[in-house]
Each structure stands twice: as structure tokens, then as C-alpha cells.
């Protein structure tokens, strides 16, 4: 391997380790950094909706697990505050 490639590989490896160390610090621990990269970032999206966009509809399941309703059934008469989340 010539010196150029040795340096190139060394610098890339250093940047990778530095990025992981930085992310670990931000996230709290190396395990959290891994979790963020592996499980969080692929699912986080900015989305294309803007203020003024038509609100998309989706069919939801009620807490009873069997009946359904649509988000757009709940809009019209009054503003609808729509909150997304999970337990954990």
C-alpha cells in the first residue's frame, strides 16, 4: 500500500471514530449512539407537509381494536389538534 492510501485510510478511520465518539457524547453513551443511528435516524423524516397544505387522511383503529375511523372525520367544525406519539 502506498503512503497516500495509508494516509487516506487512516484519516477516514479517524473521522469515523471521532464522529462516533461525538455522537456517543451527544446521545449519552456508545449504546445510545448506535441506537440512534440504527433505529432512530431511518425513521425520522422532515415530511413534505407545510402550513397551508391539505391535511392528509388516514384510517385509524380505535382503542377497542376493532372499529375504525378516519382522521378527516374529526376535522371541519373546529380545529383539530393532532398529536402523534408512542408509550416508550
Amino acid at each position: 500500500m502506498n503512503p497516500f492510501w495509508r494516509w487516506a485510510v487512516g484519516i477516514v478511520a479517524f473521522l469515523f471514530v471521532a464522529a462516533f465518539a461525538g455522537l456517543s457524547y451527544m446521545a449519552g453513551s456508545p449504546k445510545d449512539a448506535y441506537g440512534m443511528v440504527r433505529y432512530a435516524l431511518p425513521h425520522m423524516h422532515r415530511g413534505t407537509l407545510k402550513v397551508g397544505s391539505d391535511a392528509p387522511d388516514a384510517r385509524l383503529v380505535a382503542l377497542d381494536g376493532t372499529s375504525h375511523f378516519h382522521i378527516r372525520e374529526r376535522t371541519g367544525a373546529r380545529p383539530l389538534v393532532l398529536l402523534f406519539g408512542s408509550f416508550t
Binding site: G35, A40, M44, D54, V61, F84, G85, S86, T88
Partner: protein, 164 residues
Amino acid sequence: MGDVVQIYEDYKDHADFLTVYVREAHPTDEWQMKSNLKDDVCYAQPKTLQQRVMIANDFTKRFKFPLPFGIDDMSNAANDAYAAWPERIYIIDESGRIAYRGGMGPFNYKPAEAREWLAARYGAVKHEAPKSPPAAAPAATATTGATAPAPTVSPSPAPAASAK
């Protein structure tokens, strides 16, 4: 979450609310959080709708969560349409358009912004418990409205000090 319930209580006469349960953020088989271990909120990522329904019911029962509730099905249609995961807030106005678009959670999940939108329309709701004196008393004692919380605590250390 307490913020959200408070906003609901303050503005439910003016606006409708809907909570949508989407895929878990920190399940045991993915990126689990220590805080969830401590609070005993330990679930694997649901693989079936039944599992999602079960967790959603655990959540609403545990916190007696008063907001209307819906569950995103396994196609994740609502999540995809609204780029919702892990948590996010929107307000849809009467014409069916997005009136407020909250940022991506967790860092840009800001219920206070949704409250501001509602307050701009329907007026701010003031609360009894003042936020201003930070050092005076912890929030728990402030909300009970006890006029003199200090004396109830002092009797035990006072005799001990005087005895020596």
C-alpha cells in the same frame, strides 16, 4: 405528556383533539432507554395490530389519558402521511388545512407552540399555580394551594436542634 393534557383541558371547548399511537420509539428490542426501565415501560416493538392496541390501552389506562385516541395500523399510513415518528404535533384548521406544523420529535416536539396557536385564537388560559418563584417551593406544594407548607415540615428537626 402532562403539558398535552393541560392544553386539552384548557382548550377542549374550542378545539378537537386526537392522539395517534404510532410505532414505538424506544422498545426493548431496539433503542431502549434507561428511563423506561426505571418507569417500567418495557415493550418490544409491536409486530401485530393486537400488540399495538394492547400497548395503547396500557398507556391510556395507566395515565387515565383523557384525550380521544386512535391507533395507526400496521401499514403505518398515518405515520407516513404526517412524518410523525417518534412524536409530532399538527393543528388542522376548519378548512382541512395544516395550520400548525410542529417539528420532529423529540427535540422539536413543542406542545407550548401548539398552546400558543390556540391562545392566539381563543385567548391564553392562566393557571393558579404560578411559575415565577422557582426557588420558593417545588411544583407539588404549589399546586395543592397550601398556604403554609413550611411549618408542616419544620417540627421534627426543630426539637432535635434545641435538645442539643
